[in-house]
Point group: C2
Chain length 387, copies 2
């Protein structure tokens, strides 16, 4: 199935289902296409101009570097599958890739997806791609194409997989480099929207071990479902979440189920980070960044450091969202293990020059982020430690 | 698992197996890295300079356009899995993507892979990535990173999946455009290396239906196994293949099994096509190109046409490799179905100006391709037809 320049592979059967899916694809993709995308219907690949005129390109990039990464969403897709909710996992897919890419200082340009299913189901596939397109809209990049593979011999009924691929561009002299981090720098943390897309193997073990019901509402979780506006409990410390939830104007109807809380999409930090970097185009006020994923704060923030500095993190400086304490309690998980597996409320870190920490924090708050001053850089050996 | 700038996701268990795999990754990837790749150990994404100095970049690209595509290898991976041969399917993965991309006139720059497995097996994963790296070496692009996902809940034991993403660059005014094709143009076909990576659902049905043995040698197949130099039977017409095979100097030892024939990697046309375009930098002698994949010659060549021309193909103008006739006979497959599913011996097409057809064909032959003059462009409605 050609999809605006890419083949959405025709795998043999179910032609009507495929036609239904293909019909909806074009308009979904086009919504993410800015003036940089060159229409190429039926083509073999997607086309994106690095800038839409030569002058602009030369002003923006002296030595353009492409930044590329690939990632999936792990077993969060099993939760989506169990609940039959396919419209937000695509946002997670974009987030996992784009958040990794902006760490290098890059501006996201384009995204491609790979979806593998046992059977073409146009409703499910359209929901998946709609989520990917929504993620691209949030991140400000073009969904240039993708591939849908129908492989009943590889995927058992009900299973599926998703992979994504993002490309951005940064001018070489503006690319973030661990060498720039120095003692005195301040670590700012940006609030996460819950679990994001890591640790779901552990999450699912806790759910089954404790006999939790994905479709039930648990008072301790507080908050609102994503679809109804997930902002409710965002800045509320975990211990107050139960009470905060009760102040919701719509009462019980607005309370999300455990499944809805677990499917809250990964926050995409691209727009605020790109805007922030444009604001400080001349001064290099950001010395490092980190996307907090699989191995938690320690395992990811250390990747932004050089071997002459440590990051000292004050773990009491931000509110841990209720979902983490809920899972910890029901699974009897040690605090160290929680911190190693989950983001614990901070999805993205910036290491910034101390003189600019306040103005950067204020700017990011204005752009809609929850910002916490969570630590500082000291002389060291490249480690992240509590203090 | 960070892999030169990308996370090869740590999925929880089997740390020793992962360490073994990670150790080998760095050196495999680095072999594909030219001076454009910027070392970024432990980083969140891979970095590639569009050119390694400003002057060169400006000389090469006035209006640089990124060309991107995503693809998998379909159920050819089931054949690899059944035979436990994992070192060439990565070449197929690169080929499927890069051959699509060069159709637009682009030069391949970078590649990323996504590998999903039920359990980390360092021997298997290393073989897979080695194949991907070998494909990148042949295509002349950098394997910038990738993602390995370990998901026992999604993939049953023995199953796995592979997806790839390729990015290239072309100057806008040099990008291939269907509008340029006009009556009188000549269609050149480049020989395929067998089935390539499409139609394996049908191939596997024929194998099981006819009770064929992947480990057996069938005289009718002729040729040599890929690992021993697959060039033997390349230019031999199918009917003569049985005899041609018998002239091999190494006798029976050199004859490939059915499985080896089916796993022959997809031919990568990137280097000859990129070189050809450099040779004809000023004159626009190529008016269209097509990668012959899933829906065969008709379904793919039509994508290179505009609605005012037809391509008339002489199906007797090239030798059909023996594997196609072998499968057709054992499966009782109609000729029309064969042509709709398989490449039938032509893996890539170029539509060229008639005055340059001979010199282009000679140049491509010098670059190692088997080249056939397979058809011509006439007035029409965008169709591909036999004649």
């Amino acid at each position: 199935m050609p999809r605006n320049g890419l083949t959405y592979a025709a795998a043999g059967v179910q032609l009507e289902e495929k036609d239904r899916f293909t019909e909806s694809l074009g308009s979904i993709l086009r919504k993410t296409h800015g003036p940089r995308v060159i229409p190429n219907p039926g083509g073999f690949a997607g086309l994106l101009r690095l800038d839409y005129n030569e002058k602009l390109f030369k002003r923006n990039y002296k030595d353009p570097v492409l930044v590329a990464c690939a990632d999936g969403v792990g077993t969060k897709l099993k939760v989506a599958g169990e609940l039959g909710v396919y419209d937000t996992i695509g946002i997670d897919l974009v987030a996992m890739n784009v958040n990794d890419m902006i760490v290098q200082g890059a501006e996201p340009l384009l995204f491609l997806d790979y979806i593998a299913v046992p059977r073409v189901d146009s409703v499910m596939l359209t929901a998946l791609v709609r989520g990917v397109a929504e993620g691209c809209r949030i991140a400000g990049c073009a969904l240039l194409g993708g591939e849908t593979a129908e492989m009943p011999d590889v995927y058992p009924p009900g299973e599926f997989d998703l992979a994504g691929f993002a490309v951005g561009v940064v001018d070489l002299e503006r690319a973030v480099n661990p060498c720039r981090v120095r003692p005195g720098d301040v670590v700012l943390g940006l609030g996460s929207d819950g679990i994001h897309s890591n640790g779901y193997t552990l999450v699912r073990k806790i759910v089954s071990h404790a006999g939790l019901d994905l479709r039930a509402v648990y008072e301790e979780l507080g908050g609102k479902a994503y679809a109804e506006g997930a902002d409710g409990a965002r800045s509320v410390p975990s211990r107050a979440a139960g009470r905060a939830g009760a102040t919701g104007t719509r009462g019980a109807r607005a309370r999300p189920t455990l499944g809805q809380v677990l499917l809250t999409p990964t926050r995409i930090y691209a727009q605020p980070i790109v805007k922030l970097q444009r604001d400080y185009k001349v001064k290099k006020v950001i010395s490092g960044m980190a996307h907090i994923t699989g191995s938690g704060m320690d395992g990811n923030l250390c990747r932004a450091l050089n071997t002459r500095v440590d990051a000292v993190i004050d773990w009491s400086s931000w509110p841990v969202p209720p979902v983490f304490r809920f899972l910890q309690r029901h699974g009897g998980v040690a605090e160290a293990e929680m911190r190693r597996v989950f983001n614990m409320g901070i999805g993205y870190c910036l290491i910034v020059r101390p003189d600019f920490a306040d103005s950067i924090a204020a700017r990011l708050k204005k752009l809609g982020e929850r910002v916490y001053r969570i630590g500082k850089i000291v002389r060291g050996r490249g480690d992240v430690r509590a203090g």
